[in-house]
Amino acid sequence: MSELEQMYREVILDHYKSPRGHGLHEHPDAQAEGQNPLCGDEVTITVKFGEDGETIDSIGFDGRGCAISQAATSMLTELVKGRKAADVAALPKEELLEEIGIPLTPIRLKCAILGLGVLKVALHKAKGTPLPPEWQNLGDDLHFD
């Protein structure tokens, strides 16, 4: 087994098989969903804030898709819990990618950061935090009618 496969197994599959933060809140303070049109990965995220209305007290997700997208979202929930909405809105994707640890090609990168994008959209909708253009279309429906 190559080193890559080893890492894949240990890091990604652990989160994939036992996702942290799995399950959605019934009455969330913030919520969004998104998908990666390239592969059909889907992620929905719900957030509850603490008493200050700013700190992420609890975060849950549901989704389906490849191990990378689901594992990365699981890692994300660990990464952001206890942080302030504004900080998470500004969180560079590199921080998440470092957690994931394995090298990702541009195409699989989209899987990896899907959850992060969905979370940024949720915070933007609930708190008006800034949303960089690259996330703006997530979950939009650009219909022709």
Partner: protein, 411 residues
């Protein structure tokens, strides 16, 4: 029709991509349904053309322009012959199958569809033959109906009677071969039915033309589209064939240079066929290369290609079927081309493809631009292996070994 066998191992010498070794092995390229590799013959000819016959076409009276025009129009004749069209005036160069299908949907559809009309597609269309019709139907107020498939991915033609009750059926659009399942569809039957309804029959041959003999007259269709890049030719070009009477009546699609007879501030008239539909500078050298690619596969022989792929798909389906937890979608090998889509229980296709890539096996994972079919199959995506004239049995061995590794990793 000679059915000589094809020597894939020998043909591979034409494809430089197989010279590159990773861990001592060439890529096991199993994504030809998405796009094919290019033989030296095509690349050499295009290079020569760019170096000694290149200029803009049609317009110049000097030698380079004459050579370019002869090369470009010669390719048109090759496309005509390849699909046995009655006239090369009926052959239009487009960017590919997608643009060809859009051309029909816009130019024919916008003028001829309205409320009370029905556009019929199938549940296993590629988005290229689905979304344009869905869009034009909405724009014109026509209904959008689909022919459902059975559990083998084959069209349920008994649905046609009910569909005919919904209004005036004006368009029937279907792919001759499904890019996801490999299903060979009964286009001839559909064409007869379409004509009984007074409808036009549109055939998406993107996935058929590289692998089987195509005869537009035998198919009895009105339009047929395919792409160069799936038949050993360059990207950026493809062809639409249409029946002359229909093409003559249609409005052009793109407008600009070359498709014009005369332009004035108050009125403009169109050029004759096929130029009316070829606005602007076309993909000149690419059309030329497309023609060379058609020569290349024709010389190998489409019967030989079909037989070779059939052998491969039989082997692949047998061996895949032995892997526990692996489910193959679509019809038995006799009723499909060299395409196998499957799912591996508990592993997302993207993860399958990623791990296979580490083994040098290139397969495609995703919805293959057939989301309605995915919905019907109840999956978000599949893993797909597809074959062509340069595919060898060893590629399938490596696919099977790779899948066993995937299972091991996810165990």
């Amino acid at each position: 029709m000679t059915t000589q066998r094809l020597d894939a191992q020998k043909l591979r010498a034409d494809f430089a991509v197989f010279e590159e070794l990773t861990n001592g092995r060439p890529v096991a390229y199993l994504d030809s349904a998405s796009s094919t590799q290019k033989p030296r013959q095509v690349l050499d000819a295009m290079r020569e053309f760019y170096e000694h016959s290149y200029a803009n076409v049609h317009r110049g009276v000097y030698t380079l322009a004459e050579r370019a025009t002869a090369g470009y129009e010669g390719a048109r004749e090759k496309v005509r012959a390849y699909i046995n069209a009655p006239s090369n005036r009926e052959v239009i160069f487009t960017r590919g199958a997608t643009e060809a299908l859009n051309l029909i949907a816009y130019s024919w559809g916008l003028e001829n569809l309205g409320p009370g009309d029905v556009v019929v597609i199938t549940e296993l269309e590629h988005h290229a033959n689905f979304v344009p019709w869905q869009f034009i139907a909405k724009k014109t107020g026509a209904q959008f109906a689909h022919i459902p498939i059975d559990d083998y991915g084959e069209l349920q033609l008994d649905a046609l009677d009910e569909i005919a009750t919904r209004g005036n059926v004006k368009v029937v659009a279907n792919n001759l071969v499904s890019n996801t399942l490999g299903t060979i569809n009964p286009v001839e039957k559909l064409a007869v039915w379409a004509h009984e309804q007074g409808a036009i029959m549109v055939v998406d041959a993107a996935q058929a033309a590289p692998h089987r003999h195509i005869d537009v007259q035998a198919l009895g269709c009105d339009f047929l589209a395919f792409s160069s890049h799936k038949v050993c030719g360059p990207s950026g070009v493809g062809a639409l064939w249409g029946r002359r009477e229909l093409l003559e009546e249609m409005q052009p699609f793109n407008l600009g240079g070359e498709m014009i007879r005369s332009v004035a501030l108050d009125r403009t008239s169109w050029n004759e066929l096929p130029y009316k539909f070829e606005a602007g500078t076309p993909a000149i050298a690419e059309a030329y290369g497309f023609g060379v690619a058609l020569d290349y596969v024709s010389e190998i022989g489409l019967d030989a290609i079909e037989a070779h792929e059939h052998e491969l798909v039989v082997t692949a389906m047998d061996r895949l079927g032995e892997i526990p937890g692996l489910r193959i979608f679509g019809p038995p090998a006799e009723r499909r081309t060299g395409i196998v889509s499957f799912e591996l229980e508990g592993v997302h296709p993207h993860d399958v493809a990623q791990i296979l890539n580490w083994e040098g096996v290139a397969v495609r994972a995703g919805h293959h631009c057939t989301q309605p079919l995915m919905t019907r199959l109840g999956v978000a995506a599949t893993t797909r292996a597809s074959f062509y004239l340069y595919t060898i049995e060893e590629d399938i061995d490596r696919l099977i070994d790779g899948l066993l590794k995937v299972k091991e990793t996810f165990a």
